[in-house]
Amino acid sequence: MKKTDVPQHKSSLNNVTKELCYAVDETGSYTKNLSTGWDIKASALNVAWKDIENRIAHAKEKVLKGEASPVLFYMELKLMDFSILSSYTGFFKWTIKRHLKPTVFNKLSHKKLKLYADAFDINMDELKDIRFNGEDTK
């Protein structure tokens, strides 16, 4: 990449930092340059977030319909998967899968619920009823 080609596009890092990249000057020597962003990668990040938003919306719908427990919604909201959630809570992955059933979830002890609430960084009311959580609409 030539120094003059270092992209200076908008990105969500704009108010935070510029990023350093290496590019060649007129003589072909590498120099350090700052870039504000590149639209190609900004749109790649947008694609990833669109997918996350879809997943959250889909999970929300399932929970409100009573087809899944709030664990599914918060797992998507906090960008987790079964293995990450398992490592935060200490539950096995298959246990978490079982807890996705509302009937099983509703019978969980306070202690177990607390583990989920801590992992998701929310309070117990939010965990029991996702309507108390407004984070996804922010």
Binding site: T17, Y30, I40, A44, D51, D81, S87
Partner: protein, 336 residues
């Protein structure tokens, strides 16, 4: 309590931590490209059975932690490295180091890293920062990918040091043990061994998924993504590939430009014209990676959607694989 410490921005976090910590102990020659090259940082791997954020697991760099480890080893610098099972002990140890004016590298998770914008905060646990002081119950932090230094509260730092999931940091702290002077001879020797190891990792590594063969393997996969996964998921996969390659922390072009810069710097220690020629091959490769990203963006933005567009994307990767194979073969033939 503040250590006299100089923050220098880097393209990649572990390079930056390595460079800044080594400079601090008196290794004046060290730069980011040198640390990356001596640590044999360039790599490629596609792990077909693993998924990250619901997309393919692809890396353009070597395993986290190795760049610091290898660079220090190659320069005969002893290292202190510690992980903790208890948060209290982790904090006590960190505070003790800062009290001794010792800046330390910390492995952290990005998800709770408060100074990053939300869009960048995924559950990625192999980020590296330097903690170099403490003022008013806040830790002074030098994050190499940021232009300026920043800070984290005790709680915030504890949280990122004890993030969970894959590659959990477990409070890991590391730093060079003592002040050292490194000679130019040692640097030349380290450069040679770094290059040789990178040759091994890229063209001699067995199996189809890593090194230059891994790039080809990914190309073959991409050809099948549209029919196998459906267009929407295929778009997600391509976007993920581009992010691993171009996002903050890579210096662009999947680290290839940093490597090209490394070969130019290597020439100052080992005046062999071939290093400069091979450096231009890596510049070309980085440029081709970026062109492939533009093609991929055409697909994930919805402008391109035919099988032929995926085939073109795959052809870019085949071409890159050939070019990098050539570059590393030539590196392997250099008579030192």
């Amino acid at each position: 309590m503040k250590v006299d410490f100089k923050h220098i921005q880097a393209a990649h976090c572990e390079n930056g931590v390595t460079t800044n910590l080594l400079k601090h102990i008196g290794v004046d020659q060290i730069t980011e490209p040198l640390a990356f090259g001596i640590g044999s940082g360039l790599f490629y791997v596609y792990l077909p059975f693993l998924k990250i954020n619901n997309g393919p697991a692809i890396a353009f760099r070597t395993m986290p932690g190795l760049i610091f480890k290898r660079t220090c080893k190659a320069l005969d610098i002893p290292v202190v490295r510690k992980t903790f099972s208890s948060k209290e002990n982790a904090k006590k140890f960190l505070d003790a180091m800062i009290f001794k004016h010792q800046p330390v590298g910390c492995q952290v998770g990005v998800y709770h890293l408060s100074y990053f914008p939300k869009q960048y905060r995924f559950h990625f646990n192999a980020h590296n920062i330097i903690v170099y002081g403490k003022e008013n119950e806040s830790y002074l932090v030098s994050d190499p990918v940021m232009e300026n230094v920043t800070c984290l509260t005790e709680y915030e730092l504890e949280r990122v040091r004890f993030a969970k999931g894959a590659l959990a940091p477990k409070g890991q702290i590391y730093f060079p043990k003592e002040n050292t002077v490194v000679t130019d001879m040692q640097i030349s020797k380290a450069i040679r061994s770094g290059i040789n190891r990178n040759v091994r990792d890229m063209i001699r590594i067995p199996g189809p998924i890593a090194g230059v063969s891994g790039i080809k393997y990914t190309g073959n996969k991409i050809k099948k993504w549209r029919t196998k996964l459906g267009l929407e998921t295929a778009k997600l996969y391509l976007a993920q590939l581009v992010r691993m390659q171009e996002e903050i922390g890579t210096g662009g072009g999947g680290f290839r430009f940093i490597y090209a810069a490394f070969l130019q710097e290597a020439y100052r220690y080992i005046p062999n014209g071939q290093l400069l020629e091979i450096s231009t091959l890596f510049t070309q490769s980085g440029d081709m990676w970026r062109n492939s990203a533009v093609q991929a963006a055409g697909i994930y933005k919805g402008r391109l959607s035919e099988q032929n567009d995926f085939d073109i994307m795959a052809d870019y990767l085949f071409e890159i694989a050939e070019l990098e194979k050539k570059a590393f073969t030539e590196l392997s033939k250099i008579k030192w």
